[in-house]
Subunit: 339 residues, 2 copies
């Protein structure tokens, strides 16, 4: 790590985005300093990257507009890394590189930008990812809400490793790696719109170890991280793509007490609330025990929560009272800017 | 191309960003329909891409916040493709894939979003680039100014092909592929802040053919597209990175009459105005004639505009009146949200 920054500006100004000296200083001192790695070169237009021989190149992209920028359990910087890494992890790829595009509002406290960059750098290090290219745009006051980030994740995987919606079959089982809805509920609380606070933390985290635990299981069909729209939305994506029915068992879906209470109180359904550190997996029925055992080694709260049925594209919840109800596809946004 | 869209919504709502049905429809009907290619799959988290054997993977990223979204000569969609492709072209890479992250404001006219997607798709086709992954975030009214885009470009190049700032030597010559400042001036006029209009068009375009013309020249050291901060800023980047002096000859720098007049009138300097379809190249002095000839075949207005000197990191302009003046590094932003 280089010596402490000489950068003394306290707030972002439009001149930090003009391509000149101030922009170079902002990028070098706030971002490049903490993201330092052998590939990052702020003086070039495009960077050359090594590719492992015999592996497939895998790419994903994501935008982040979470409000507030900082919340219990993370901030927009760590969230951006986890979101990107997780999209690679669920297709069985090893995340390796990331690009970072930053939109920042004139007048933003540089300390907030620094904390964002620091958390992003720390999360990237933990996930073994190098941020190899970046871009910064400054927009006027009121034109963007502090910071938006956009990332592209680049990873590699064996071409033998193919998990996809079209591999899912009737009779397959559905697993989840832990309690759902914590990110959504934590953001809701952090906004303080509802006049109370709690100890709830976002589950924002990498799901790399969960994905790796499952990747070795013969019979693994498909993985996805339930983010916007939560578990119910992943279920609808599966139903929509496969034409099969999804049956979930309410009593088996892990929801922590705080999430349950807050949702009850405010009339939200935890099954539609975003997670940012969970994985949903579909596995062949005869591989279910092995998959659950492997998953629980790294995620003790993992659970078998449902199955794939032949009864057409629909999502049904077997309720704790023994009844059945349809889980509709999300129409209105219960909570915008969750990620 | 699939049949005309069934998508009937006229304005963007927060529900178009929630991960549910409306978001899927928006993405499928406005973006995926026109961006269609064998790699794009809106049902997966990350996409596998083929890599040519023996070539280097090259990556770049950019954000776009141009205001207005549509301007003479292009819109934010075509600009995003050109900006991305050009960053790959100037390092000698062949652009191949692109990711697209979209931030869109609640209430935006869907027709504007469609035109953006259409122009982006057309520009990508012209450049031989497939948009392979995307993400859409909807933010509330007033929270972003219509549309921001963020892209990552992925290309490939021979590892023998290495153009970089550290190859530049004293005595090298500086070329530009055409008139400078047209994008900046066109945006300025399009904003109508100054109460008059003109026929000026942005130079927004791919520089692939210019870059390819130069790539074959032995003695090519470095290329860059002068965007934010214009030609003067590229000169400063070279001076800053090499420690050498840059001398530019005002009379040799192509500036079209309309740009000249508008800058004169408003007190701007064309050398600091953004281009989005030009290339600056540094070549060995003994390769200068061959480079200029090759460049003029595809860009007739290309010119030799200066040279690299041993007199320390500074940028000097030999003025049309025979004097010399220092071109200072850009401090205040003359024109935010130019790209």
């Amino acid at each position: 790590m280089r010596p402490r920054s000489e950068f003394r500006d306290t707030h972002v100004s439009l001149a930090h985005g003009n391509g000149g000296r101030l922009m170079r200083e902002l990028i070098d001192e706030v971002f490049a300093r903490v993201l330092e790695n052998p590939f990052l070169d702020t003086t070039t237009d495009a960077v050359s990257l090594p590719t492992p021989i015999g592996e497939e190149l895998v790419v994903t992209t994501d935008g982040f507009t979470v409000k507030p920028l900082e919340f219990p359990g993370g901030n927009i910087g760590s969230l951006a890394v986890h979101g990107t890494v997780n999209d690679l992890a669920v297709v069985g790829a090893m995340p390796r590189f990331m690009t970072l595009s930053v939109f920042v509002e004139e007048g933003l406290d540089i300390a907030v930008l620094r904390r964002t960059a620091d958390s992003l750098a720390e999360a990237a290090r933990e996930c073994g990812v190098s941020v190899v290219a970046g871009d910064t745009k400054v927009v006027g006051r009121g034109e963007c809400d502090g910071i938006y980030l956009s990332t592209t994740g680049i990873g590699f995987k064996s071409s033998a490793c193919r998990f996809a919606l079209d591999r899912i079959q009737v009779g397959d089982r559905i697993l989840v790696s832990g309690p759902v809805g914590e990110h959504g509920a934590a953001i809701m609380l952090a906004r303080q719109e509802f006049g109370f606070r709690g100890d709830l933390k976002s589950d924002s985290a990498s799901v790399l170890k969960e994905a790796r635990a499952l990747t070795g299981i013969v019979g693994l069909r498909f993985m996805r991280d339930p983010t916007r729209g939560g578990l119910a939305t992943v279920a609808h994506e599966i139903a929509h793509a496969t034409g099969f029915g999804i049956r979930l068992v309410e009593a088996h879906i892990p929801v922590n007490d705080a999430v349950h209470s807050i949702c009850e109180l405010l009339g939200f359904d935890p099954l539609y609330m975003a997670c940012e550190g969970r994985i949903v997996a579909v596995v062949a029925s005869d591989a279910c025990d092995a998959a659950l055992t492997a998953l629980r080694r790294v995620a003790p709260a993992a659970a078998l929560i449902g199955e794939i049925r032949a009864d057409g594209p629909q999502v049904t919840l077997e309720t704790s009272f023994g009844g059945q109800r349809a889980l509709d596809e999300l129409e209105e946004d219960p909570l915008p800017r969750i990620c």
